[in-house]
């Protein structure tokens, strides 16, 4: 462990031999496409598909009415609400699937889509969640009778009130975390193959959680769970967007049942972007109370969250607002209160996606932004203010006011390292010089604390299924191994990382270990990969299963060496007799004996399964510093440098960890500067394809500079914490703080993301700071 070994999965990807869902091709396979709604809110008066049906090559047409007898016109969401598969009465967002067309190939299906006539009666739409919660707003969900989804709160409201009224300083800022889309490079899709003779459904699909999908599919379709096989092949990025179950999967399965053929559905990008799960859309009013000297006292945040037409956040059941209660961040506070009200609007479902760690992105953004707002208010350097208020390293494990027990941390060390690396104080001097010349330069800091590794089963479940994860390892007679997991990589490199863990624990060469995930017929049950949970859960399970194998190996070695078990010493890859290292048996010798020469009273074989239920969450952290220059003529921000110091505990593969951090930083960069899905009042969507929704290219993406500190998790079997989302969670505040820092000389207190040149230029213009040609 701790080595940057090259990834085991790469040879197939670099040779064009990956197996993504669109690469699956079965004999007689048909293709599914959808007629989608042009309206955000409209009653369906009629659907006429005669012309489509008459087109040669069209095999079937499916509407909501066809799903009713199967009980599949609505299905449960991951947050105990329900969602439409195909509408029977009205559509509730623009680009919603309305009619499924099944044809012999994708061109014919697309032709037929344009031949379907749907008559709509438009209804007033609501796209602003604040307005949705006002009396008299159009009701999105008549079955609910209200647009109010939930109210959630944490903390002591009255005590916080007192804390705030007694404070020397209170700062307040409205912060909008925009609606964004994960924009994985591979869109959602599936191939459904129903075997009518066996009554068996195989579904190749882009899912991050194959087992959970199987169980839910069994419950809603009444197909017995042993007759459903979910195969999640190579996935072209997931980032949370592929946890959800989309109508396409269900309609493809029904289409396969109806037609007796395998059916493929692959979303076009322009269909995927506006209809699959979004991230964020979180309207916050945040306040921070402090003493004059900068001692932070408490935090208060009121949020209205926009959930679209169905509350389907891929959240643990007991957490409607995700883990937003991590919003006290890295600071030792006296009190606080946070509340969230969810609203239904005429938009698609989502919320928990895009590497967000269950709403930790929003929480971290709020607190890290507010620390800077406070720093300006009291005229203190933002790094000094952070240092002053960090939870001291000797206070871990630390119980936060909202009830989390942070496992370990050393926040000062991480910030210090970032400051040294970037040359913080020199940059401040340079900034002062530039200011004199009227040049705009900003420095932004973010010292985030993440919460990942869901999770301890007492608190964490999804639809009742506990959030453990699993590993099954089998050692073959010749000492080679296969290991299977309940998680599912979407690019995170599990085939390498897990092999490294097992190699470390059992002393097998990495190349002798095959890692498999994603086939529910063979993999042990697990809840999948999202929220940076794989290393904290399945990675731990790999270590625990390896240790079970080692325990059995000890028995076998004792038999082979004619020694007592307690006299054997384990050294990576072998047992030897204490005091005589030449009397040794390697793990390969032992594996062979497990099948050829096992002692009486010991079962043959060498394998183990482990279902790992973590005792606590893990709390990765880090400090990021961003330097930005802004062109006063155009408003164009340019990130000059970005230093990221991450602490994710002990690292299995530094190369993979660095890659994860880079990728997540680029996502945070996109969020901060480029990306937003917007709606107008009528519910027309903007940002529905890659022409309108800008994701970073190599040209504007900064050159990341990374460093680490290492504070192991005390409760994880090998001290790891998880890292996949740290940088998406931590970086937006650094970017925004940097831009606002640059603009602060003009008295501009805040700009909401994305920080487009246009927005920045307008803010400058308002203050008379823009340079005009």
């Amino acid at each position: 462990m701790g080595h940057g070994v090259k990834r085991k999965e790469d040879p197939r990807f670099i040779q064009g031999k990956g197996n993504y869902v669109d690469d699956v091709k079965l004999p007689g396979m048909l293709f599914l496409d959808f007629v989608r709604s042009p309206y955000a809110h409209a009653r369906i008066k009629s659907i006429n598909a005669d012309k489509a049906k008459a087109l040669p090559g069209v095999v079937a047409v499916l509407t909501g009415k066809d799903l009713v007898p199967l009980g599949l016109d609505w299905i449960p969401t991951l947050s105990s609400d329900k969602m439409m598969v195909l509408p029977t009465e009205k559509v509730v967002f623009q680009m919603q699937e309305v009619v499924g067309i099944v044809a012999e190939d994708r061109y014919t299906a697309a032709d037929a889509v344009s031949l379907v006539e749907v008559e709509y009666e438009p209804l007033p739409a609501v796209t602003n969640p604040m307005k949705a919660l006002e009396p008299g707003a159009p009701i999105v969900r008549p079955d609910k009778g209200t647009n109010h989804v939930f109210h959630w709160e944490v903390g002591d409201k009255a005590a916080t009130e007192k804390l705030f009224s007694g404070a020397d300083v209170v700062v307040k800022q409205e912060l909008y975390y925009p609606r964004i889309h994960v924009s994985y490079m591979e869109t959602a899709g599936c191939v459904a193959d129903f075997d009518q003779v066996r009554g068996h459904l195989t579904l190749w699909m882009t899912t991050q959680a194959p087992h959970a999908v199987r169980t839910v599919a069994a419950l809603v379709t009444k197909i017995p769970e042993n007759n459903i096989r979910i195969i999640s092949p190579d996935i072209g990025g997931g980032f949370g967007g592929k946890v959800y179950v989309y109508p396409g999967y269900i309609v493809a399965a029904v289409a396969s049942i109806v037609t007796g053929h395998p059916v493929k559905w692959i979303n076009d990008r322009s269909d995927d972007q506006p209809s699959t799960a979004f991230g964020r859309d979180w309207h916050m009013t945040a306040e921070l109370a402090a003493k004059k000297d900068g001692t932070m006292l408490g935090v208060r945040i009121k949020t209205v969250s926009d959930h679209g037409a169905f509350f389907g956040d891929a959240n643990p059941s007991k957490f409607p607002a995700g883990l937003f209660s991590i919003c006290t961040g890295s600071y030792d506070l006296k009190g606080g209160f946070a509340e969230v009200d969810g609203a239904y609007t005429n938009k698609p479902l989502g919320g928990i996606t895009y590497r967000c760690s269950f709403r930790v992105t929003e929480a971290v953004y709020a607190i890290e932004r507010m620390v800077d707002v406070l720093a300006y208010k009291i005229g203190m350097d933002p790094t000094d203010l952070r240092m002053k208020n960090f939870i001291p390293s000797n206070k871990f494990p630390y119980k936060s006011i909202f009830g989390w027990t942070y496992d370990s941390g050393n926040y000062t060390a991480a910030l210090k390292k970032a400051m040294d690396k970037i040359g913080y104080w020199d940059l401040r001097k340079e900034q002062a010089e530039k200011r004199k010349k009227g040049e705009l330069m900003g420095i932004g800091v973010s010292s985030f604390t993440e919460i990942v590794g869901a999770g301890p089963s007492a608190q964490f479940d999804i639809l009742g299924i506990k959030m453990f994860d699993s590993a099954e390892i089998r050692i073959h007679p010749t000492g080679k191994a296969i290991a299977r997991f309940g998680t599912k990589s979407q690019g995170q490199g599990h085939e390498t990382t897990y092999a490294q863990i097992i190699a470390e624990e059992l002393g097998l060469p990495i190349e002798d270990i095959t890692v498999e995930e994603g086939d529910t017929d063979t993999a042990p049950y697990g809840l999948g990969t999202y929220a940076s949970r794989s290393t904290p859960t399945a990675g731990a399970a790999a270590a625990m299963a390896s240790r079970k194998i080692r325990d059995k190996a000890r028995k076998l070695a004792a038999h082979l060496l004619e020694a007592r078990e307690e006299d054997l010493v384990w050294e990576r890859g072998k047992f030897y007799v204490k005091g005589s290292p030449e009397r040794a048996k390697t793990i390969q010798d032992i594996a062979f004996a497990a099948y050829t020469n096992h002692p009486p009273g010991v079962e043959a074989g060498l394998e183990a399964v482990d279902y790992y239920d973590p005792p606590n969450m893990t709390f990765p952290f880090g400090s990021y510093i961003c330097v930005v220059d802004i062109d006063r003529g155009t408003g164009q921000p340019k990130v000059r440098r970005f230093v990221a110091v991450d602490d994710c505990g002990n690292i299995i593969n530094p190369l993979i960890v660095e890659g994860q951090i880079h990728g997540a930083l680029a996502m945070g960069f996109g969020t901060s500067f480029l990306e937003e899905i917007k709606y107008d009042e009528d519910g027309n969507v903007f940002g529905a394809n890659f022409m309108d929704y800008l994701i970073p290219t190599a040209v504007e993406t900064p050159k990341w500079e990374t460093e680490k500190t290492t504070t192991p998790s005390p409760h994880h079997p090998f001290g790891a914490k998880g890292v996949g989302e740290s940088a998406t969670v931590g970086s937006p505040a650094a970017f925004v703080n940097a831009v606002v820092d640059a603009l602060s000389q003009g008295g501009i207190p805040h700009i909401d993301m994305p920080l487009s040149p246009w927005k920045i230029w307008n803010a400058l213009k308002e203050k008379g700071l823009a340079m005009e040609a």
């Binding site: 790469d10 990807f13 072209g236 690019g491 290219t697 190599a698 040209v699």
Partner: protein, 171 residues
């Protein structure tokens, strides 16, 4: 539309192999490669010519194969990711991506490598800036690009070295 369905005959050389086919004039090159020829290494990531996942070379030029009709390649030579490795030996670009961790999910990778291939043909020792511009038509959502740039630099160095060896015959 009906007229669009009358098939046309094309002869295309793909990765050095000649293919004859009757295709609809509207068939996109990417679908021809993936579905008619069964080479699924070339991917589709969008429908607006923005992502570059479908990048291949046609007569040595990098093109987005989702924006070219199969019939336009009649009589031409196409190179896809499957044609990069020769005789079981990885191309330096492939080596670079593996060595420098230039990929994660791998979905953008074939297109990215083909764009890099075209870039290095034109400019064998590009600067970082030139590499970034050279792949600006290719989106990657996983890597944050730094490692992709390093992968291409690795390949450039390796290819230059091989070139030099060829120029200076061993004594």
């Amino acid at each position: 539309m009906e007229g669009g369905k009358t098939k046309m005959h094309i002869a295309v050389t793909l990765n050095g192999k000649k293919y004859d086919a009757d295709v609809e004039p509207r068939l996109l090159l990417v679908h021809f490669i993936r579905e008619n020829l069964g080479l699924t290494g070339t991917h589709i990531g969008c429908d607006t010519s923005n992502c570059g996942a479908c990048t291949v070379l046609v007569d040595g030029k990098a093109v987005k194969s989702c924006t070219v009709l199969a019939v336009q390649t009649n009589g031409k030579e196409v190179l896809t990711v499957e044609g990069l490795a020769k005789g079981g030996k990885l191309h330096p670009i492939q080596e670079g991506f593996w060595e420098k961790h230039g990929l994660q999910c791998g979905f953008c990778t074939p297109g990215m490598m083909m764009a890099a291939y075209a870039l290095l043909q034109k400019n064998p020792s590009p600067s970082e800036e030139e590499i970034r511009r050279g792949i600006s038509g290719n989106l990657c959502r996983c890597t944050g690009y730094v490692k992709i740039v390093e992968s291409i630099q690795y390949a450039a160095d390796k290819m230059m070295m091989a070139e030099r060896k060829m120029e200076v015959p061993a004594k």
